[in-house]
Amino acid sequence: MAATEPIVEMTDISIEFPGVKALQNVQLRLYPGEVHTLMGENGAGKSTLIKALTGVYKIDSGSIRVSGGPRQFSGTADAQSAGISTVYQEVNLCDNLTVGENVMLGNEIRGAFGINWKKTHEAAHEALVGLGLGDLDPRQPLSSISLALQQLVAISRAMVAKSKVLILDEPTSSLDANEVEGLFTVMRRLRDQGVAILFVSHFLDQVYAISDRLTVLRNGEFVGEHLTRDLGRSQLISLMIGKDFETLASLGSNRRRDARESGEQPFYSATDLGRKGSIDPVDIAVYPGEVVGLAGLLGSGRTELGRLMYGADRPDTGEVTIGGKSTEVHSPVAGLATKIAFSTENRRDEGIVGDLTVRENLILAVQARRGWARPLSKREQKELCDKYLVELNVRPSDPERPIKNLSGGNQQKVLLGRWLATKPELLILDEPTRGIDIGAKAEIQEAIATLAEDGMSVVFISSELEEVVRLSERIVVLKDHRKIGEIINGPDITADTIVDLIASDGAEAQGVEAFEPEPAALAAEGSTN
């Protein structure tokens, strides 16, 4: 195959938001007929780069060339008309419309009397067949099919629009192994037809299974572009995390206590805790001073379990014993009353109260606990601010600043302070280090370790298996909304142990093995450069 020109070329892209350099001199080249993965930890700038390409964000400097000519798109629709389509994780389709309408709207077949529905649905059917979805009835409402199928419908829509570039933003987060394989089959087919696919993901195994080349970002900076087959896993991880890999690794070694003193009672114990549609009944116990990690792929039910324990969601089943007493935890109010605290993974939507000050955010849970009639005095508030803003090293430390003006990492620390101020005995942390720079990450991880040493129980939820292994004494493994096992941490336990456990569980044994990279096949494709 002759060497081809890149269909998309982004050079020296920089974007700055108030207080944050989201992208700094980032490069990206996409060639037709390849699957190109954009890699990086959370907060590395992957989403921002995509939005820069499609014109949702304006770039401060740098240039974008599409099919050889310079382009500045004005938004998703504009990019789409130029052949660049994006399918987001949340599948941005209208589920009150039919499958066919979602595929064809904007490209419907019209006759003398308006839209010809028969022909339009036939065209939709054709497009679906092209992706191997010939069994889907275009006339059924989109809401009646699974999320995985909806995603494929979104891809069909992109193909109807004759897209030359298909951007898939974290498409596999909510899919099970079969569905992921189905998606990959479709991706390979499209790639062979000459479409350039930009695949954004942080699942290492999937990246090695599907991509031809990858671009690595870290903290908004461009780290490198490589052929997948040229880059080993540990090299890739090092690129993504940076040279502080060793620093983080060293934190783990203290946490591997195994034996529990005999006769010690768990602080929190739940049997058959579950909620229809989010997690099947689970048994879980947490001892005082223990760090329990919840591990599993995205969509396995980790966050859901954490929320049930706190009462953020109402459990359908389960018996909970706290401090020896049988209790019901049905709401955050109840959770706080039983000395449990929960730090959400979605700090923007469920964590910070943006227009309020740092101080007001910090004292919020304590105040809620005391009730409306007993406001914290100015002195009490000052004491709390002084203690936690200093302890957690929040910068800038001015308590009267609106919290929305702080960086993500500092917001996370203020939120942590909010929960710590309630003096919980069980602290559940859901993705506490997500989207945070390395320095803040280490600070928070240290704080977690210290809290546990002081006697607080911690449940630590993270999608980064390495982090879970580093920090936890015991690891509860979840998969597809079920608990599949518990691992007691020790020197020979690694992230792979968890991965193997997930892979070998249940009937879907083919799960993980399918994601081994096939170097021979990749070489045979003759990918350029």
Partner: protein, 346 residues
């Protein structure tokens, strides 16, 4: 390369739509079917309780008297389908009819007057649309402001009833046309106004189900963000629906004034609520995304019939009708909430 994806353990087999998914479209049409059932039920009840309901003259009058409400309800259907609301339609009728009557009496060409009345509605609708779409003002505030603006302007024009000249050609829109000559005065009659209303309904149905614009309206109601990301012309469409609502309010003013012959600044107080009630009763979700314009027609007829039954009954004071309308609207809104929350659970 394989051409069929095998899904041995996929939870939903794509081969045959499961029973649940086949029933689901009907869950959307259910509220409208319920409205039809209620309407028929009211007719039967009225016939049994008061008599002389199920006959040509009563049904004719039902359509003639409510033609304006049907037109308002159609306009409001477009708006509510996107999850918005238009509180200004009643006030638009006031100002439009006042301007129309005064100009007609001053000797202006009646066709020009009619067109002007309609355009006044369009202008208010456009103002609402611009506020909502370009300045991110919430629909109820923007249209509430337009309502006060229109009503204020109407009051500045005149606070006393203005009577349309008897010989004005505009009144011909309300001349009765006998369709079926029944015994004595029991005839099936219609008026050009009713025909106008019918045309509006047919055109609206066509637009909503056979044009990209109409499907975009539904898409916006489903998820405005998704519709934008799908590349649909969301901004233009949202602006257009408020213009449509205003224009139809202007048309309703023509229809109403031609029949009554009087325009006043207090005309139309509360009619926006009647229109919203008609749309909700007819099965359109207040939150948008689902509903049928034919349902809104049924809803308007249900309200009209309710008035007839109350008048026939005679024992309910006229002041209570607003409470009854409010209660009915509340019941339907609660039912919608129940249906939506149940749908979310499945």
């Amino acid at each position: 390369m394989t051409s069929v994806i095998e899904r041995p353990s996929a939870p939903q087999s794509p081969h045959t739509p499961s029973l649940a998914s086949r029933l689901k479209p009907n869950l959307e049409t259910l509220p409208t079917l319920a409205a039809i059932v209620i309407f028929v039920g009211m007719i039967i009840y009225g016939e049994i309780a008061y008599g002389r309901i199920l006959q040509f003259s009563t049904l004719s009058n039902l359509f003639i008297n409510n033609a304006y409400l049907i037109i308002l309800a159609v306009g409001l259907t477009f708006v509510i389908l996107t999850g918005g609301v238009d509180l200004s339609v009643g006030a638009i009728i006031a100002i439009s009819s006042l301007v129309g009557v005064m100009l007609a009496n001053a000797g202006w060409n009646p066709f020009v007057v009619i067109v002007l009345m309609i355009l006044i509605g369009s202008a208010f609708g456009a103002a609402s649309g611009i506020l909502i779409q370009y300045f991110n003002v919430q629909p109820f505030i923007a249209t509430l402001a337009m309502m006060f603006l229109a009503r204020g302007l109407a009051s500045m024009l005149s606070t006393t009833p203005e009577r349309l000249a008897d010989e004005s050609p505009i009144r011909t829109l309300s001349t009765e046309i006998k369709v079926i000559d029944g015994p004595k005065i029991n005839d099936l009659v219609t008026t050009p106004n009713v025909i106008i209303a019918a045309v509006v309904v047919i055109v609206a149905f066509y637009v909503l189900h056979k044009t990209r614009f109409g499907r975009t309206v539904y898409a916006i109601g489903g998820s405005e963000q998704s519709a934008t990301l799908m590349g649909l012309p969301v901004v233009r469409t949202k602006l257009a629906i408020y213009i449509i609502s205003g224009t139809l309010a202007g048309l309703a003013a023509v229809v109403y004034t031609s029949k009554l012959g009087i325009a006043q600044n207090i005309t139309g107080v509360g009619w926006e609520l009647d229109a919203i009630a008609a749309v909700i009763i007819g099965g359109t979700l207040l939150t948008g995304g689902a509903g049928f314009v034919l349902g809104s027609v049924i809803g308007a007829l249900v309200l009209g019939l309710m008035n007839v039954l109350i008048t026939r009954d005679g024992s309910i004071p006229p002041e209570a009708t607003t409470i009854i309308t409010g209660a009915i609207l509340l019941v339907f809104v609660l039912l919608q909430r129940l249906v939506v929350s149940r749908k979310r659970k499945t």
